[in-house]
């Protein structure tokens, strides 16, 4: 059975919590229950740094959600495929690798499954003190998009 891992990444502070908040909402919505038991896991991950590579080991499809800056209006969620992730500037810590850097390292080492990143725009002023909210319509869009990703992956998997 294929294993899909949804990870909400960030920290408990300000706008940086958005990825973790989105994952918690997806879990509360019962998304995993739409699939065979054990197929789709949803977790939150507090600043994993290069530890992200371990989190994705043995997974067939990784779906990451993180606060990011990509020049859109604050709160917009955008889907980045494997090849587009470098375009998203995920919020980074100076003393650990950000998500984009950790994924670049994983690609160099050939240890990554297919990865989809959902970036939640925090805007140029987004910082630890910013208000962290995700609009209900944005959450609904995110859930539908992720269901579509999983369906596409399962279809590919069966070929």
């Amino acid at each position: 059975m294929t294993a899909v891992r949804i990870l909400g990444i960030g920290s408990p502070f300000g706008a940086d919590t958005l990825g973790m908040m989105a994952a918690a909402k997806l879990r509360a919505s019962g998304l995993s229950n739409d699939y065979p038991a054990g197929m789709v896991s949803i977790d939150i991950c507090d600043r994993p740094g290069v530890g992200l590579l371990d989190e994705l080991r043995g997974i067939d499809l990784a779906i990451l959600i993180d606060a990011a800056r990509f020049g859109a209006h604050t709160g917009q969620i955008r889907r980045f495929g494997d090849q587009d992730i470098e375009d998203a500037v995920t919020v980074t810590s100076s003393h650990n690798l950000g998500v984009a850097e950790a994924l670049a390292l994983g690609r160099s080492l050939n240890t990554l499954p297919p990865v989809i990143l959902y970036g939640i725009e925090i805007g140029p002023e987004g910082h630890a003190g910013a208000t962290a909210e995700i609009a209900p319509e944005d959450m609904a869009w995110l859930k539908t998009a992720i269901q579509s990703d999983i369906a596409t992956h399962r279809g590919t998997d069966r070929l």
Binding site: D46, R47, G51, T92, S93, S94
Partner: protein, 434 residues
């Protein structure tokens, strides 16, 4: 002909940073006119956050200062507070604190060697670039870092901002099965760590970057220092941590929010090379033999040999962790009871980047009335500036090649593993020619 050249190097403001920095450099007629390294220093904000907080909140608050060395902040804090409260947690807690520190040294040094410093030495722009050509080395670094994280997690629930520490000891003791599992991982990691020593030594020229400077570290009667010891220097200084403020002077530098620290008016080095220079006789014979094989002569005045010092300290930390866990027993209680009282306590421990000194003043109820935290990066700041001045002048400023000059500056700064070091290419160059 005189040529005025102003190079300004700055860092973009990032959210969630543990540090940020900029280097202002102006060169006139082939000489450095101004060189200012600016570092933002979060611990100074935490000094104020701590005021009015209860003694038992301190370990969890200071763990948030740094994402890469929370253990160090927790250890300096609990030692200082236990000094005020006349609390001796006993040998089990002492051993576990050393074990805890071993985890942080392994994790932090492995990250720095393999992902931050090695790309500089091997001529790559980033770790992902280097990983394409040196996947085994990078994988080894990640495995060792994982072992360090597992050690921290054993005692503290999680490796990032750990929560298991309390004044008096730990909230819980690891069970025997978890210890046995980890021992197996540590034993298998030891040969890999030994390989890192020779690999790191091969990256650094044995000669060519020597310069005179002062180095400062803790020194213990019998052990390689982590949690305890006098503060000593190659100048002959030998003082108790309580006397730190009478010998080390902190000053506001107008260009930086970090305080500049001096010993007798001079810059000084703290960190792995300083520790090794002052304490190599405290290493086990097997690790001293490893050092002999590298050909490195100690004490070393070649700052680039810091990467080798880190590799040696990974071996030492693994060696110590195995020793401690082989004698592990589950205690009756993982902590000693604490009764707060008014007083002042000071402690220094050896963070991965060097001496981390804390001082606390408490009320009779154990509320924090004043906190002073002196982190290693600010202590090294004046030393980094001194190194940059000497090294960049010696390089001839790369004959006007500003990219080469920036890369050289980055390499020198990153070699100190400051809290700004992970931001790859954190120095954005803007050149103004007058």
């Amino acid at each position: 002909m005189s040529e005025d050249k102003l190079i300004r190097i700055n860092v973009p403001v990032l959210a969630r940073v543990e540090g940020e920095g900029a280097l202002d450099l102006s060169i006139r007629n082939g000489r450095i006119e101004n060189l200012h390294l600016r570092i933002f220093e979060p611990p100074r904000l935490f000094e104020k956050f701590l005021e009015g907080r209860a003694w038992h909140e301190v370990p969890d608050i200071v763990a948030r200062i740094c994402g890469i060395c929370p253990v160090a902040y927790q250890m300096s804090a609990v030692h200082a507070l236990e000094q005020i409260f006349d609390c001796d947690p006993g040998p089990w807690v002492r051993d576990m604190r050393r074990l805890f520190y071993c985890g942080e040294w392994i994790e932090s040094h492995s990250l720095h060697i393999h992902l931050l410093a090695a790309p500089d030495f091997l001529g790559y722009g980033s770790a992902p670039e280097m990983a394409k050509d040196h996947p085994e080395a990078v994988q080894r670094g990640l495995r060792l870092q994982g072992v360090g994280n597992a050690l921290i997690k054993l005692l503290s629930g999680r490796s990032v901002h750990p929560v298991g520490v309390r004044v008096g000891g730990f909230h819980r003791a690891p069970d025997l099965r978890a210890v046995e599992d980890l021992l197996a991982k540590l034993r298998s990691a030891l040969p890999e760590a030994e390989a890192v020593v020779s690999w790191a030594a091969s990256l650094v020229a044995t000669e060519g970057h020597e310069m005179p400077f002062t180095w400062v570290a803790l020194r213990h009667e019998t052990e390689y220092p982590m949690n305890e010891g006098h503060i000593v220097a190659n100048t002959g200084l030998d003082i108790l941590p309580a006397d730190f403020e009478t010998h080390f002077e902190e000053q506001h530098a107008p260009h930086s929010t970090a305080l500049h620290a001096h010993l007798d008016g001079q810059p000084y080095l703290v960190g792995p090379l300083a520790r090794l220079n002052l304490n190599h006789d405290r290493l086990p014979a097997s690790i001293q033999a490893l050092i002999s094989q590298t050909g490195i002569k100690l004490p070393s005045t070649n700052m680039f040999q810091s990467i080798v010092a880190r590799a040696i300290e990974i071996c030492l930390a693994l060696h110590e962790a195995i020793r401690i866990l082989e004698g592990y027993r589950v205690p009756d209680s993982p902590f000693a009871e604490v009764t707060p009282k008014a007083g002042t306590g000071m402690a220094a421990t050896e963070a991965p980047r060097g001496i981390l000194w804390h001082r606390y003043e408490t009320s009779a109820e154990g509320l924090i009335e004043k906190a002073v935290i002196v982190p290693p990066t600010s202590q090294n700041q004046a030393r980094i500036e001194d190194d940059l001045k000497r090294s960049l002048e010696a390089s001839g400023f790369h004959r006007g090649d500003d990219d080469a000059l920036r890369l050289h500056g980055e390499k020198i700064i990153r070699n100190y593993d400051p809290c700004i070091s992970c931001a790859t290419h954190f120095l954005t160059v803007r050149i103004d020619r007058r």
